[in-house]
């Protein structure tokens, strides 16, 4: 087994502010994902990374940057926070073959 840690658990920022969310995993999984969870809209993929230093855009990448400097960590940056993107951001990982994704506990973003 393994653990996925997301920090912070709650993130409060001002409109227009640049904000960074972090994810750490000890599964030793190759692929990591960032999803945004909005009520009634499901899980939408923002970015994913299949190995260290790789980045792939998902369906919702506009307004976000990502960074995968180490296999075990994956960061997401909101480049300019907007009130309409208050949501829960979930990090996930999967091993080679990728059939099962393991999710972290999430970061809840509030924009004032």
């Amino acid at each position: 087994g393994g653990i996925i840690t997301q920090t912070p658990k709650f993130l409060i920022g001002q409109e227009g502010q640049k904000l960074t969310l972090k994810c750490q995993q000890n599964f030793n999984h190759d692929t990591m994902y960032w999803y945004r969870q909005d009520s009634g809209k499901g899980l939408r993929l923002i970015y994913y990374s299949i190995t260290e230093n790789d980045l792939q855009k998902g369906d919702l990448s506009e307004g976000y940057d990502a960074s995968r400097e180490k296999k075990s960590s994956f960061s997401l940056t909101v480049t300019s926070a907007q009130k309409n993107e208050m949501a829960v951001f979930l990090c996930a990982t999967s091993g080679w073959g990728g059939f099962e994704q393991y999710f972290g506990p999430g970061t809840r973003l509030t924009v004032l």
Partner: protein, 114 residues
């Protein structure tokens, strides 16, 4: 692109009765795999069921689902729901890429009442 459609919104069921949560999909790929994830209140989503074999029933924790490629469906069923089954359920599609990238539906909330 790929898409997954689930039963909309909230499904309310009386404890002990059966339930079916619908999931249909559209994809141009024939090599597909399907997943049901469950998310309990204040917890992370976790895998409930998965299948990539056409017409084969898959079961876990009393839930079952059968992938039917002929009707593009992977409905989730349980014959007798419990209060503890109340949660948010997501259906998801993988189209064979080794990255494991999934396309999720919008989710269905199942509320079981006494």
């Amino acid at each position: 692109g790929d898409s997954v459609t689930q039963t909309e919104g909230l499904v309310t069921v009386t404890e002990g009765l059966p339930v079916m949560l619908n999931c249909t999909y559209q994809t141009a790929y024939s090599d597909v795999a399907f997943f049901w994830y469950v998310q309990y209140l204040n917890e992370a989503p976790k895998l409930l069921l998965r299948s990539s074999t056409d017409n084969k029933r898959t079961e876990h924790q009393g839930f079952h689902a059968t992938l039917h490629k002929s009707s593009s469906s992977f409905h989730l069923q349980k014959s007798s729901v419990q209060l503890s089954d109340s949660a948010l359920y997501y259906c998801a599609l993988n189209t064979g890429a080794n990255t494991g990238k999934l396309t999720f539906g919008h989710g269905t909330i199942l509320r079981v009442h006494p």
